[in-house]
């Protein structure tokens, strides 16, 4: 469970510190990386010195040329070894630098995934899926890259520039300053440019998203577009979005080019100054050609790292914003979790009871959704719940498996408050068939067995028979192996709902809730599902939530919910006789003014 520790590591520290703490969870790799970094920079700085010596030896200015040939051989061999070692240590620095990032990312990925799975419905209600995907992919990337492109670069550039500057200035301080004169300018320029590019990049992404939304809606709604002959209108919308993005793209080119051209110019200007002043010194006999060559080589070595300062600034900025979001996400409190001392559900009779239940969504605590709901359902009983959209009827379903927690009263199964139970045992015992079913992009078999992946094939087939789906499935060319979901075979709304029902049947729940789960199933099939389910319903409590009365007329008790309260309750006949809201709805739903129907009934 290293990811759990990783997610907690450095909690409370500032973002960048926290990333460093995370990084330090792989101390050996970090140490190897940093040591390699020091060694490879030292070797790299040695190269121009060796080259300078070689030039001087060749010119015979040292020791009057005595033993020059041997000295050249020695220098050449040292240079070769230095080059090889520099290559090896650079490799080790880069590799382990990357590896630290990937190991950190691995732990963070797991932590993010686990958190997503554990966060309760109320969180997922208010957060866009797109934002979560951003956290799990882009923000995580930003944090991952920080060690290799941020921290490590600081050490590398610090060593190269610092030691390099010292070496240059201590050799000849005027020439040294001239050689380095480009550095501050380029560093500042590149940092500012990177920050500006980053800012415009974010805007550009937004514009491109806008553009792709225009296209996506156009293609998705192509029938509307064609039906209203809206082609020209759509092209106009497209052009607007596209031109704005193009303009910004051009602006970004300008920012980038101005900066790189200026950086090149400033580099070459200081090179020219070094050549000029150095040339004068050489002619005056105060300096050897080799030293001048060493200076010029130093400059070429420093050119890259100085330019990269901008990237470094960018990396810090990115890590800081990405890390902020990522850690804020990881530190979120999970609202609904096992309470301390939670026990697994002990099933006896399987009686479900709502006792004076109140509920309001955490996002709107003063707007009650349910108030004072009470009912009891024993094994084998069916409860029907009806009400207009927004009346709170679906909320009742969500309180039983603790998708949300009640704000008043309690929900019990066999006398045990659901909040005192372990979530796993509770959710195994309560199945809610939702109206919107999510299909996973895998085969039908896996989709049905989603809640019980170890189930035998026979059980899967039986569940889909109950849900009136089996015949359809075996009619498919690849039967239960058929892949459905996003890019698989598409199922109709009714088929999806039936698959959803089959999926819930796999759980052998003690409480089964149908939350408007047959809205898209045709009446005939629904009738047959109901018949099949009769046997199934004998061993459990069944709740049917619907606005289609035919789905729940047969219930043992029907609750009519309005504005979060039970306004009428009783059997179908009792409620009809009552002549209240239920009756009015019934009249509305049966064919208006159709006597024939009454006769047929």
């Amino acid at each position: 469970m290293s990811h759990v520790i990783a997610a907690q590591a450095g909690k409370g520290l500032s973002t960048l510190w926290r990333i460093m703490v995370l990084t330090w969870r792989h101390p050996w790799m970090v140490i190897i990386t940093i040591l390699s970094c020091f060694i490879s920079s030292a070797l790299q700085l040695w190269t121009p010195v060796l080259l300078g010596q070689a030039v001087d030896r060749a010119e015979g200015v040292l020791d009057g040329g005595v033993g020059a040939a041997d000295a050249l051989w020695t220098i050449a061999m040292i240079l070769l070894v230095v080059s090889i070692l520099r290559g090896l240590f650079t490799m080790s620095m880069n590799y382990f630098g990357e590896a630290v990032g990937h190991h950190t990312a691995y732990e963070l990925r797991l932590a993010v995934y686990e958190k997503i799975q554990r966060l309760s419905f109320s969180y997922h209600d208010k957060v866009h899926t797109g934002d979560l995907i951003t956290v799990g992919m882009l923000d995580l990337e930003g944090v991952r890259m920080f060690f290799a492109t941020g921290l490590l670069r600081v050490i590398l550039l610090g060593t190269l520039i610092g030691v390099g500057a010292y070496m240059l200035i201590s050799t000849d301080w005027v020439l040294g300053l001239l050689a380095l004169s480009f550095a501050p300018f380029v560093a500042v320029n590149s940092s500012i440019t990177q920050l500006r590019l980053r800012a415009t990049w974010l805007t550009l992404q937004e514009m491109l998203q806008n553009l792709s939304r225009v296209m996506e809606e156009n293609l998705g709604g192509i029938r509307v577009v064609r039906a209203f002959a809206g082609g020209r209108h759509e092209m106009h919308k497209y052009n607007e979005a596209s031109d704005a993005a193009l303009e910004l793209a051009h602006e970004r080119v300008n920012i980038r080019v101005n900066s790189t051209s200026l950086m090149n110019v400033s580099f070459f200007i200081s090179m020219g100054l070094v050549l000029w002043y150095g040339g004068e010194r050489v002619m005056a006999g105060q300096m050897t050609v080799g030293t001048l060559a060493a200076f010029l080589t130093f400059m070429t070595i420093l050119q890259m790292p100085v330019r990269q300062l901008g990237l470094l600034v960018n990396s810090f900025a990115r890590a800081s914003t990405c890390g902020n979001r990522l850690f804020a996400f990881l530190d979120l409190d999970v609202e609904i979790k096992d309470e301390p001392g939670a026990k697994p559900l002990k099933l006896g009779e399987g009686t479900l009871r709502f006792e004076n239940v109140d509920f309001a969504y955490p996002s709107a605590p003063f707007r009650p959704v349910l108030s004072g709901i009470s009912f009891e359902a024993r094994k084998g009983e069916t409860i029907g719940i009806v009400g207009r959209p927004g009346s709170g009827k679906s909320t009742i379903a969500h309180l039983i498996p603790r998708f949300y927690d009640v704000t008043g009263g309690r929900v019990t199964i066999d006398g045990q408050d659901v909040r005192a139970l372990t979530l796993a045992s509770l959710r195994q015992a309560v199945a809610v068939v939702q109206q919107d079913s999510f299909l996973f992009t895998t085969n039908i078999e896996n989709n049905i067995a989603y809640g019980d992946p170890w189930a035998k094939e026979a059980r899967i087939a039986r569940a889909s028979e109950f849900a009136q789906l089996h015949n359809y499935i075996i009619g498919l060319p690849t039967g239960y192996e058929t892949i459905v979901g996003e890019r698989g075979v598409s199922l109709s709304g009714g088929q999806r709902q039936r698959l959803n029902i089959a999926r819930s049947l796999m759980l052998r729940p003690a409480v089964m809730v149908f939350d408007d789960s047959t809205a898209a199933v045709d009446a005939g099939t629904e009738q047959r599902i109901r018949t099949a389910m009769k046997r199934f319903a004998r061993d459990r409590v069944t709740l049917i939530i619907s606005h289609r009365l035919s789905s729940l007329m047969h219930a043992d008790q029907i609750l009519f919910i309005d504005e979060g309260r039970v306004v009428e309750r009783g059997t179908h006949e009792e409620l009809l006789a009552l002549g209240g809201r239920y009756r009015a709805l019934y009249d509305l739903q049966v064919k208006p003014g159709d006597d024939q129907l009454e006769a047929a009934e």
């Binding site: 060749a58 209203f228 082609g231 045709d522 739903q589």
Partner: protein, 635 residues
């Protein structure tokens, strides 16, 4: 893949031993990044067509790249000249040095100008080409046949419009640079040989070695990079699935199983990335070693020559400078090859979209359907289908008189929706003709047809934007008052006013903040604003709560007032409100007449009707049998 097939013989209850039948993330492989032919002249020609308008910019920037590269080549030469002819004993001294500095300054100016011109011009031209390409694709998609659109996933099209077009960008921007790389490579070779043929040849002996090494390195390295890319998108896919399906996961208590599966993916991703990093980094010591060898050669061989006065010391310095830039062009050129391959495969996919045939176009002599046509619709012996030899409509004839409302009913698959599409000429008939206001739809312009035939689809589709923009849609001439009147007429005004900003409320994606019924009402208002003579409407089948349902029925009446209406009806209330009913079955017109006449006939209609379903689409799956008996009776 972590997919585990269930061992059926295994009867054990041991859940720890048997792997679950479970996967996270898509079971389907992502769209393979196909490395097709590296060079396909046909594709290149098509892409060139987009570049062509900017060719003067391209020539200019190629010239700038050349100038830039030449200055890069010249800098060490100036240094060499300054050392040998200026600083060396017996050289020209100060004046030469100053001349060299002046030359250096000149080169800097050229370098600056060239790099500025080249990057700006190429960068902008590349962006222009991309946007042109995307616009051409998008505009083309506005004209391709709907049957092609039906078969094609929006997501796939989007990945071509965004992803493939973007991957052309890398290519367009770098291809001009690679001209510079080639020049630089040959330039360095040339300059070194010119400075000293012997030393040059010995020094460059390492160059082919690197070339060969990279040739062997590239294929496995590419595989490892691709693998890293794949495992990454696979893990990200699983994450996205976990987010989208989180409610299902929690309600079915699947967290632990999913976590274990995800961990495997994350670990595979980690391993693939480490492997790719190894491949990427292994080149570093190789290049450094080869550079070291070259430098050592220059020091030993060149140094001896300088000692022996066969070589100027400045040449040696120049050599050392060139060696440090030696391997850059080789590195970027080999990389450029992959970029080129990727661009070719993207280009192929882009051209595919551009080549989708446009099946429905205005005739050259098409006339505009005039406003004062009578508004009748007539089908004459229409035969039509989507797939060869599988007609969906067979010899169907009927007429809708001006101002009349006709309901089309029939079981799923009877050809109702096709009728509707044909009025709008989404498709062309195989045989027979469809006329609107006395004109064959093939003889009028599609724009005028769209203006006179309004359509309400079964699934209301709303665009991102405000309510008013959605109602107005492309009828920009509609005033705010007209929009509000329309909304009032269909009964949408009240709920629109209750939204945060009334008519200016921004709708979330596809109107996600509205209920289905409300979206339906807005799409009614949109049709009302369009104010066409003819209304074609496909009634929603989905279950809408009874209250909204009532509103919709009222709105429908208002919508059909004074218009010719062709309604694909599912609700009995709608059907009974129609002037005439046409019953379709298996693509054939079975019965037509008003409700009473049809009930008298005791045919399919009366059977369907008496089956007591509140909607005609609520047919049980054995409708086939039932219909068969009904037909048997009718004939």
């Amino acid at each position: 893949m972590t997919e585990a097939t269930l061992n059926t013989e295994d009867d054990s209850e041991d859940r720890n031993r048997r792997p679950p039948r479970a996967v996270v993330g898509s079971s389907l492989d992502r769209e393979e990044e196909v490395f097709g032919k590296a060079y396909d002249p046909r594709i290149v020609r098509r892409i060139w067509a987009f570049v062509k308008p900017y060719r003067s910019q391209i020539y200019l920037s190629v010239a700038a790249v050349l100038a830039f590269t030449l200055t890069q080549l010249a800098f060490p030469l100036v240094i060499r000249y300054a050392i040998d002819n200026g600083m060396a004993q017996g050289g020209g001294g100060r004046s030469v040095l100053l001349w060299c500095i002046a030359g250096f300054a000149g080169l800097i100016a050229i370098n600056f100008a060239a790099s500025w011109v080249q990057e700006t011009v190429v960068g902008k031209a590349a962006e222009n080409v991309l946007f042109d390409m995307r616009r051409a694709m998008f505009a083309h998609l506005q004209r391709v046949s709907l049957s092609w659109m039906d078969k094609t996933e929006v997501g796939r099209l989007m990945s071509r419009l965004m992803g493939d077009v973007n991957s052309m960008q890398e290519f367009l921007e770098t291809s001009v640079l690679s001209v510079g790389d080639i020049v630089l490579l040959f330039g360095i070779v040339g300059v070194l040989l010119w400075l000293d043929p012997l030393l040059g040849a010995i020094t460059m002996a390492t160059m082919p070695i690197l070339f060969i090494v990279r040739l062997f390195w590239l294929p496995p390295a590419k595989v490892s990079f691709m693998a890293a890319h794949h495992t990454n998108s696979s893990a990200n896919g699983a994450l996205a699935e976990g987010i989208n399906g989180v409610r299902t996961v929690q309600s079915l208590d699947r967290q632990q199983v999913n976590f274990d599966l995800y961990e495997e993916k994350a670990r595979a991703n980690l391993r693939a990335h480490l492997r790719a990093a190894k491949f990427a980094q292994v080149m570093v010591p190789i290049v450094d070693t080869l550079t070291g060898i070259s430098m050592a050669t220059v020091i030993v061989v060149g140094g001896q020559m300088v000692l022996g006065r066969q070589l100027d010391v400045g040449v040696m310095v120049a050599f050392l400078f060139y060696i440090q830039r030696f391997f850059d062009p080789i590195r970027s050129l080999t990389m450029q090859y992959s970029v080129f391959q990727r661009a070719m495969s993207s280009g192929t996919r882009i051209v595919e979209v551009l080549d989708v045939p446009v099946s429905i176009e205005d005739k050259p002599d098409a006339v505009a359907l005039s406003r004062d046509m009578d508004g009748s619709v007539e089908f004459r012996n229409v035969t039509f289908g989507y797939r060869k030899n599988q007609p969906v409509l067979k010899n169907v004839s009927f007429r809708v008189n001006p101002g009349e409302t006709v309901a089309i009913v029939g079981p799923t698959g009877s050809g109702k929706s096709s009728c509707m599409s044909l009025v709008h000429r989404f498709y062309d008939v195989w045989d027979g003709s469809v006329t609107v206001g006395g004109h064959d739809v093939r003889d009028v312009t599609q724009d005028s047809l769209g203006a006179e035939v309004a359509m309400v689809l079964q699934e209301p589709f709303l665009f991102t934007g405000s309510v008013i923009e959605n109602i107005r849609y492309n009828k920009q001439s509609a005033t705010r008052e007209q929009v509000i009147d329309a909304a009032r007429a269909v009964g949408a005004h009240d709920f629109i006013m209750s939204l945060a900003d009334g008519y200016d409320t921004k709708l979330e994606q596809r109107g996600g903040n509205l209920s289905l019924g409300q979206r339906q009402l807005i799409s009614f208002a949109r049709a009302l604003v369009a104010d066409a003579k003819i209304l074609v409407l496909d009634e929603a089948t989905a279950n809408i709560d009874s209250y909204t349902e009532m509103l919709i029925q009222k709105a429908l009446k208002r919508l059909l007032e004074g218009r010719t209406g062709l309604v694909i009806a599912h609700r009995l209330a709608t059907i009974r409100g129609a002037d005439r009913i046409i019953v379709l079955q298996n693509g054939e017109l079975l019965e037509s007449g008003n409700h009473d006449q049809l009930m008298e006939k005791q045919g399919l209609y009366s059977r369907l009707y008496t089956m007591n379903y509140s909607s005609f689409d609520d047919l049980p799956e054995n409708a086939e049998d039932m219909v068969a008996t009904a037909v048997g009776k009718a004939t």
